[in-house]
Amino acid sequence: MTSGPSRPLRWRPLAVLLLGSGAAMAFVAVLTRNPTPLFLALPLLLAPVAAALTGPRSAPPVRLSLSVEGAAAEVRVQGEVVPDPTVDARNLVVEVRCPPSLLEPRPPRLEYTTSEVGFHADWTAPEPTIAEIPVPSVLWRDPMGVVERGTISSAAPVVVSRYPPELLRIGSVRLERTTPLPGETHSRTVGESGEFHGIRLARPGDHPRQINWRATARAGRTLANEYDLDKTGDLLILLDARPTPLGRTVDERLFSISRAAALGLSESFLRVKSRVGVGVFGEFLDVVPLSTGRTQRIRIESAFKGAHLSSVHAPAERCAVSARRHFPPGLTTVVFSSLSDETSEDLSPYLRRRGFPAVVVSPSPLPLVAAASHLSGEDEAIANRIAKLVRRDRIAQAWEDSPAIDWDDYWSLGKFVEFVRRPRVRGVG
């Protein structure tokens, strides 16, 4: 718990009602020379002041724990709020807010005791997503609901990522190497992120955490640990964040789905010590350079959390030129693009020309468009059929430049996983 910003006492609308009514009655009593309204006014005038005086005189500290459980579409949020012993937990008002990308079928359940408040919320992710669950707002409010005051907690928001479960094991696929000497390479990360290899003389530039202090004491010379990292290869994940004719709403949802899958993909490969780089192409290419380890995971997660759809449609060549500047050629590249118009199809040819063998994973807009359709019956069936034919044609055109996977079931990336696991099919690309 930290001493955060000041949280002053706030009067609630009920306080204004009580004080206004009390003052009005006091004046009526004086005007009519009738003390009866004055006796009714007295409790109403004094109650807000008494509530402010009997409550905590500064923002009460609370210990707040927040955790997320569940798998796939299920998001179970739970936690507890434990206030300072001087504060009755039943006077706390806890508000758990659902992020916009998740659905809240029923309001959260709150369980009160005198010492803590437990909360449970069952939310649903309608499609793969990365969502930040904000820290629940906790207010102290007097039992009458006249005054309230914010509390102080040091809890941090929790990021929940939901992506197709097939991505959890895709990291075992061996990627093309882009480093000149295959085999064991020195770990670039500080600490025990790789296999222990041996002890060597410390060099200038070694991190203090790498120094083996016991060995140094025994030998009388500064010695450092050396770790080796067996890497399977490198991967570049590119997200197409350019707008399409589908409209902002559908584009946003498809981009959100792509972000979640890209995060799942990067996590899976980082888990097996591969180097992963990320690029988000909107108007320009925002990159996270190739690296591995836990820090890289956090970097990539932050990049995806902060990524947003561009409002400008930039030329695909800009992406390829920029990618060539930041990443070595020959890198296995996975492009997430909706391929919903001709201009979004030109990303992979330009990348290929610049030396990036790309695989396009294309989240299909059809399920989203069909859900928003106002058609019904036979008209709907015909419209769906035509849309599928157009989509199939577009995927076939994209295949001419690079392998393209049509991703229409958002909770399954089986087709993509099957593709990267089968070398014969991969050879086709």
């Binding site: 002053p8 004080l19 009714l40 109403l44 004094l46 402010a52």
Partner: protein, 172 residues
Amino acid sequence: MSAPATPSGVRAVRPVSLALLLAAAAALGYLSGYPGRLGPVVAVAGVVLAAALRATPWRTVAAYAPVPALAVLVLEAVASPVGLGVELIAGASGVAFLLWLADDPARPVGGSLRSLPTVAVPGLALGIAWSSAFFLPSGSVPLGVAGGLLALTVALVAFLVGRPQFFDREEA
């Protein structure tokens, strides 16, 4: 762990504080100057409407529940004749209204008990005021003193409402 604080559907009504408010409002209505039985009927109707608004599952509607209850109390107090019994009942109905406010069904049970330290302050002030009115002789001087104290109280309340940070205590 106790029962959920925000149950779905219609919220539970806490009967004790509601009965207290109903009785106090009906008594004030009976003693008020309205003809026939209009006073108690209006009082009961207002309190029942307030309780019904509060029991609705919609938060925005429930937030307006205190208005009808307060409105009938004001209407009856304004129309009441001068008398020590009426004054006592008017003050008691104000305290009962505060207790009813504390028994919000959207919050954990036992609100009225938890609010006793708060409600005790206006209750005590009411007791002193009524005792003064009962025991002290009436006249223009006590009335002037009472009027001066009232003006001072209103000014003090206005000052405190405008400066909520007055209630903050600096951490050591």
